[in-house]
Symmetry: C2
Subunit: 231 residues, 2 copies
Amino acid sequence: MDRKNCYEYPRPALTTDCVIFGFGGNGLKVLLVEREKEPFKNKWALPGGFVHENENAEESAERVLLEKTGMKNVFIEQLYTFTQPDRDPREWIVSVTYFALVNNRQLQLITGRDIVKAEWFGVGHVPRLAFDHNNIVKKALERLRGKVRYQPIGFELLDEKFTLTQLQQLYEAVLGTVIDKRNFRKKILGMGLLKALNEKEKNVGRRAARYFSFDRKAYKKLTASGFNFEI
Amino acid sequence: MDRKNCYEYPRPALTTDCVIFGFGGNGLKVLLVEREKEPFKNKWALPGGFVHENENAEESAERVLLEKTGMKNVFIEQLYTFTQPDRDPREWIVSVTYFALVNNRQLQLITGRDIVKAEWFGVGHVPRLAFDHNNIVKKALERLRGKVRYQPIGFELLDEKFTLTQLQQLYEAVLGTVIDKRNFRKKILGMGLLKALNEKEKNVGRRAARYFSFDRKAYKKLTASGFNFEI
DNA sequence: GCTGATAAGTGTATAAATAACACTTTGGTC
DNA sequence: GACCAAAGTGTTATTTATACACTTATCAGC
């Protein structure tokens, strides 16, 4: 070790860890990777890595996401910073954590690559993870559940175009409730945030559902004039 | 400099900064301290300091609060972590920020001491601050405004006992709205979160108002059974 | 091309919450 | 005891939320 990185007082290493949520057919899922090194070698963990000197934590999280899972341009937001001195058995390591929401298309990307061993786990079936990562997942779930009702972030988990039933199932999965179909549609359409597309499902073996898309422009306009999203 | 704190890769210094809100007669206030050293010597800044190796960030924030302002046992919550590499002109310094809510009694404590030069500023009259601290204050205000409607944290800004008018004025100040007195009282009393005390204001030169206190026990019970606070 | 299976799509009536609004009462001062 | 200032108090109209069941479209199999 050379004398380059010496300081007057001890300093923590800085990492980012990312809780990536996806919405598959049967519920909300979180992406875990298998650790290739000690400590916790071969244990499941959140994708993460060290922050470089010339980048901020968010850039670092995005870089790590791309390197480890091949995902980019995903919705990402700072979650919490974990600073407990003994959270890493090696030394003082502080982690700025993020939570990310990806849709099915982004979710496909990773299955093609083989950058690290990664797997989706239903949020109810997350195994014992390395470090304090179970805590981080717990915090991310709380945040997602709290936020999904007051901000239109649920759309980040669906494809560009989606059916109202998919949207409803998403809310039911995240919130853990059952929602009345007619009331849900009345409410969500009444907000004026969805664009009805001239396109329907195909080859579904039943009546085909119409596709909708989230109208970001309309949402911006509405929020500017005091509108508050709420499900 | 000895060789004690040398690392393989560069590491950031870790600090905490704290946005402390108080509610004075005429609105919401934030506590600022004057910097005694370069950089930004004699400029206003948020109270903050370096995190020690054997403490977590929250303990550090509480320690700094006590050292710099004499406050303890205040409501404190992690806000956001600022990691922009050039946010400090000296070197790479990452700050885990907190927001704190103090009531009048805690607010008095500091005026007695003279630990650092500290002053309350109305949130609409915050001067140009050191580093990226104006950003931090902005973020804290957003958080407070977003949170005060869905969690009973407003009470942290009032004394143990308070009148309904004080509570209403607090919400009006934080949210920047005007609230109807009768509807406000109906709603807040209807929640069953306030204990009416057998005590009134004294020597006020008008009809004395009854004191109330926030019933934490009742709140815990209610949240456990699915109640959601909302103003 | 008819039948059956499956989920899409749709309206109304009741209950609850919110919003608007003004006067009487009380404690203290002069 | 007259006056000042803010405390305290109900009702109605409007909006929003909730509960609830049948018809329609698409595809598959015959």
